[in-house]
Amino acid sequence: MSTFAFDKVAEKFPGAVLERYTDRAGGAWLVAARESITDVMSLLKNDPELDFKIFTSIDCVDRLLLPDSDPRFEVVYFLYSVKRKEHARVKVRVSEDDPTIPTITSVFVGANWWERFCWDFYGIKFLGHPDPRRILMYEEFKGHPLRKDYGLRDRQPLIPERPLKDLFRGPGTSGPAA
């Protein structure tokens, strides 16, 4: 991947770029400052030259067991530009004590579920997220299972069945229950 896109980001938001490097396979990475992730994303998306319009995905890495484990979490963002035929790889590092990041759902609606995924499995809070629920696990689940200190064989107790108040059988007279 060429570094053109990130050059542009660095030019526009010099404070937002904490680090830039190239991975083993030649992919260019940009480590963005947490506060400016929304700006970076919006620039990547809206700049006509960059045009990273396809929102690819978000995930998180718990670096607990890696040699470089401070700050602990790395949230990775991937975008794709049809025009440039390449992916943009952006990451934001957050610490264990304050695992919060501004949401980018205002830029990409598609980030909604991925951010819920990161909350569900890593406990990263996305500030301003419109729907901050778990996504694959159930609400009663305690902890965040993809964290490295969550044991492979850890078990959680069964939860009582939920009342089915929110379900109607056929047309009813009252509105939906809360």
Partner: protein, 413 residues
């Protein structure tokens, strides 16, 4: 009939008031529950829908019923042991997942696989693309009441599945391929049978095409329903046929060709409307393109090894394992500790039948993945389904849900 007072808030009250039974059609919002086990949901997904009459006011897909802890399992198995887990992501096109994962690992290692293995990977991926699209098209037809087309589609699919079984030993959970190539070459006489199968599949596809495409009943429910604009589709992260049906020409095979996709001729069909009908047509057209690719592969595929000859990556041949200390060491270390993938990270995408299948892999230099993120194409697409059906009729939900081809295995990991 009963003395107990009626509780108006309780919908399950066994003694409803007389007037309620003959009530007019309600116009108040009503919440209904579709799934997690419902004929039209394919996998196990629960849709909480708020209806006003027949109009969907709000839809909230609840997923996770098929969550198996894919990532956690993978982080605790060796790089090769991950392979069977990938079968179960999109279980209708397991080969695409297998090869996609392997391609990502090989990219991280910086490994070039033998040419014949690359060709066979293209062949396998396209074969399962046919398999996947036939299933999708068949299911669309079935759920809209066209049982005949479903049977034709499934007959063709089973023919493909037979060839896949001969190739890999399993109908769905193929686990075919290894880091560095493939675990076995094509079986003897298989290519001839495959050509016959492709001829038959083409015939059956044409049959399906004839039954459905110009069928008024079918087209009326498909045309203009489940529309999403290109802009929104990209925002949600749609890829594959769903995105191309909106007019965005993005196919990983063309944009960033991998394996030998740059050596075969094929077209990427693009439609403009972004509705169910276009998504259906996308798949019919792609079936033809895949057929075209496979026939080219069969012609162009060279002879040669299918696995790299590097004992750090690939298991040594059995005579060496039993007969030499070098072989037994390599075998032991590869099986017990796994392939030592150098520390680093990589994002690699391949085109699976439903779109971009991306892998973000992190290695700490050991025999097991440190982090294995799979960007399943169905996940963002499902997240966009509420947008496509809100404000539309309940009956539009069925074809929409069919044509986005949500597969529980990959969405819920």
């Amino acid at each position: 009939m009963s003395d107990s007072p009626r509780n108006p808030a309780d919908p399950f009250d066994p003694n409803p008031a007389e007037h309620e039974l003959e009530a007019h059609l309600q116009t108040r919002p009503m919440e209904i529950n579709m799934g997690p086990s419902h004929p039209a949901t394919h996998g196990t997904v629960r849709l909480k829908i708020v209806l006003d009459g027949e109009t969907i006011l709000k839809a909230d897909p609840e997923i996770g019923f098929l969550h198996r802890g894919f990532q956690k399992s993978c982080e605790n198995s060796t790089w090769t042991q991950v392979l069977p887990y990938t079968d179960r992501l999109n279980y209708v096109s397991a080969l695409c997942n297998n090869f996609g994962y392997l391609a990502a690992v090989e990219k991280l290692i910086g490994l070039e696989i033998p040419e014949r293995a690359q060709w066979i990977r293209v062949l396998g991926a396209e074969l399962h693309r046919i398999h996947d699209h036939l299933t999708c098209v068949g299911a669309v037809s079935l759920e809209l009441g066209g049982f005949a087309a479903f049977l034709y589609g499934l007959e063709a699919r089973e023919l493909v599945a037979d060839r896949v079984t001969e190739l890999t030993g399993a109908r769905l959970t193929t686990s075919y391929g290894r880091i560095g190539g493939l675990n076995r070459d094509l079986p003897e006489g298989w290519t001839e049978r495959l050509v016959k199968t492709l001829d038959k599949v083409r015939e059956l596809c044409d049959e399906v095409d004839t039954i459905l495409t110009r069928n008024r009943l079918f087209a009326d429910r498909m045309r203009g329903t489940g529309i999403i604009s290109a802009q929104e589709a990209m925002d949600y992260g749609f890829t594959g046929p769903c995105l191309r049906a909106c007019g965005v020409d993005y196919d990983v095979r063309k944009a960033n060709p991998y394996w030998t996709y740059d050596q075969v001729e094929f077209e990427v069909p693009v439609f403009q409307n972004g509705d169910n009908y276009d998504r259906y047509l996308m798949r019919i057209e792609e079936l033809k393109q895949s057929d075209r690719i496979i026939r080219q592969v069969l012609k162009k595929m060279p002879a040669g090894p299918v696995l790299v000859d590097d004992w750090r990556i690939a298991l040594p041949p059995k005579p060496d394992v039993y007969g030499s200390i070098e072989g037994v060491i390599a075998h032991f270390k590869l099986v017990m500790e796994g392939v030592q993938v150098p520390a680093g990270e990589v994002y690699h995408a391949t085109e699976s039948p439903n779109g971009e299948l991306g892998w973000y892999i992190r290695s700490d230099g050991g025999g097991r993945p440190y982090k294995l993120h799979v960007r399943a194409p169905g996940f963002p697409i499902l997240s966009g389904v509420p947008r496509m059906i809100e404000g539309k009729l309940l009956s539009d939900l069925i074809p929409t849900f069919d044509t986005v081809n949500m597969i529980g295995g990959e969405v819920e990991q």
